[in-house]
């Protein structure tokens, strides 16, 4: 820890003893000082919003921007800042540009279309569990199931060869690292974007039934998008499409194994209760744990706090999901509670595009894994697990399990 140059504490903050709970200091702020200044890596001091209502207010306010190029925008890491200044996908745009790009994809991720993928996702889950059962014990659940399942699914949906997974997993790991330098991050992005750009160009001449082919023929070939823009969009989808779900599968499994009464409910749950359990795990774990970043476009007041134009804003969805005004006894994992109003997918126009896919993947995996391997247990004490404190998306690096 470097010596503080001001009273504002460093953000992100350190977690406490429970690996599933947000940092204790965030909880204290939610109770005692719900809007406050924090200091981030570049020395700037954005406002931190912790209350559920304030987080939703920040993320829906039209006077608030998600554009990382604007002065005052509180970038998550040096890498994010370096990359976004060069390759911008719609997550860093405001409407109407944001809406125009997002709408090229909303059809592919709509609830009905994702639901049609459920049998294929089930088949993948079964094959991966077969492989795990046939292999040695203990196994690393991350490599055996949590990472391959969403990677394979997003590859099929986008039209990215799964055979190239070692390459894009390696790039992706750098892109979500809190510790990577700007140079490392930029290099990983260049490498991945170059690869995705070549893929898009190939699909112009040889299209298939996948998202990249539709972008290639519908947007790039017509001149509506450049190859680089399509590649930036593809990178967002590919990285977001597997990092998040993979971490929810592994960390969700740790949380359930540590709460056997809840695991028993999930194992026996009907479809509706299973869907609810997924919402509660999303709320409880909120793996996107670095806050949603925005910047104020004008002087205004949010959550009783006077915000000036150019002030950075951090909407801390992880602690907002522990706000007891919305979730009584918020520190309790209760898969039967009403939880789907959580903000784990964010809120506002940037709320996760892939959420229907994430939901179906998690429903399929949790049920399949715990039913097919009822004796599943951790092969290492929970406090010896390697938690992803160093990543923008939380989870575990490895998960040794046995049965």
């Amino acid at each position: 820890m470097t010596e503080a140059r001001s009273a504002a504490p460093e953000f992100p903050m350190a977690r406490g003893r429970c690996p599933f709970d947000p940092p204790p200091e965030l909880g204290r702020r939610l109770r005692e000082q719900p809007v406050s200044r924090v200091r981030i890596w570049d020395g700037s001091e954005p406002w931190l919003f912790t209350r559920y209502d304030d987080v939703r207010a920040v993320l829906t306010d039209p006077r608030v921007s998600a554009d990382p190029d604007l002065p005052g925008y509180p970038s998550q890491t040096p890498g994010v800042k370096a990359r976004r200044a060069r390759f911008k996908a719609f997550i860093g745009m405001d409407d109407p540009e944001h809406a125009a790009q997002r709408r090229l994809l909303t059809g592919d991720f709509m609830v009905k279309k994702i639901e049609r993928m459920r049998p294929r996702i089930q088949q993948i889950a079964d094959e991966l569990v077969d492989g795990m059962l046939a292999g040695p014990k203990p196994a690393d659940l991350v490599q055996a199931l949590a990472l391959p399942l969403p990677s394979l699914v997003i590859c099929e949906l986008l039209g990215v060869p799964y055979a190239d997974r070692d390459f894009f997993h390696r790039c992706s790991k750098v892109l979500v690292s809190r510790d990577a330098t700007a140079e490392q991050s930029l290099a990983a992005a260049e490498e991945l974007l170059g690869y995705l750009g070549q893929l898009v160009e190939k699909k112009i001449g040889d299209p298939a039934d996948d998202v990249f082919s539709r972008l290639a023929t519908g947007q790039v070939a017509t001149g509506a998008m450049t190859v680089e823009e399509a590649a930036a969009m593809g990178q967002l989808l590919l990285v977001a499409g597997h990092e998040t779900t993979a971490n929810m599968i592994a960390l969700g499994t740790v949380a359930l194994l540590e709460n056997p009464d809840q695991l028993a409910i999930v194992r026996e749950a009907d479809d509706a209760l299973l869907a609810n359990a997924v919402e509660e795990l999303l709320r409880y774990l909120t793996i996107v744990h670095s806050g949603r970043r925005r910047v104020a476009l004008e002087d205004m007041e949010i959550g009783g706090c006077p915000v000036r134009k150019g002030d950075g804003l951090v909407a801390a969805t992880d602690i907002a999901n522990r706000d007891e005004t919305q979730f009584p006894e918020p520190e309790k994992l209760d898969v039967t509670r009403k939880a789907r109003q959580h903000v784990a997918f964010g809120y506002g126009v940037h709320q996760c595009l892939g959420q229907p896919l994430a939901r179906v993947e998690l429903q399929v995996v949790y049920r399949t894994l715990y039913r097919r391997i009822p004796s599943l247990r951790l092969a290492a004490p929970v406090d010896e697990l390697n938690f992803k404190h160093d990543m923008v998306v939380y989870g575990v690096h490895e998960l040794p399990v046995t049965w």
Partner: protein
């Protein structure tokens, strides 16, 4: 209860479809919200209200 949806605001998150599929659907080509009925029966009101509260784009308005 009168339900109004603003298709220009919709971001296709699909929350409304999951909560109240009797009332909300998504357009096949771009996933944008489709209102199936603008005056839903009383037993659907609670779920329609929840859909309006969940909508991240604030694209669902209720009257009554």
């Amino acid at each position: 209860m009168k339900v109004v949806v603003d298709q220009s605001r919709c971001v296709g998150a699909g929350q409304c479809v999951l909560v109240a599929p009797e009332v909300f659907d998504q357009r096949e080509d771009d996933g944008i919200v489709l209102l199936l009925q603008d005056d839903p029966a009383e037993e659907l009101h609670a779920r329609v209200k929840e859909a309006a509260q969940l909508c991240p784009a604030l694209a669902i308005e209720l009257d009554g």
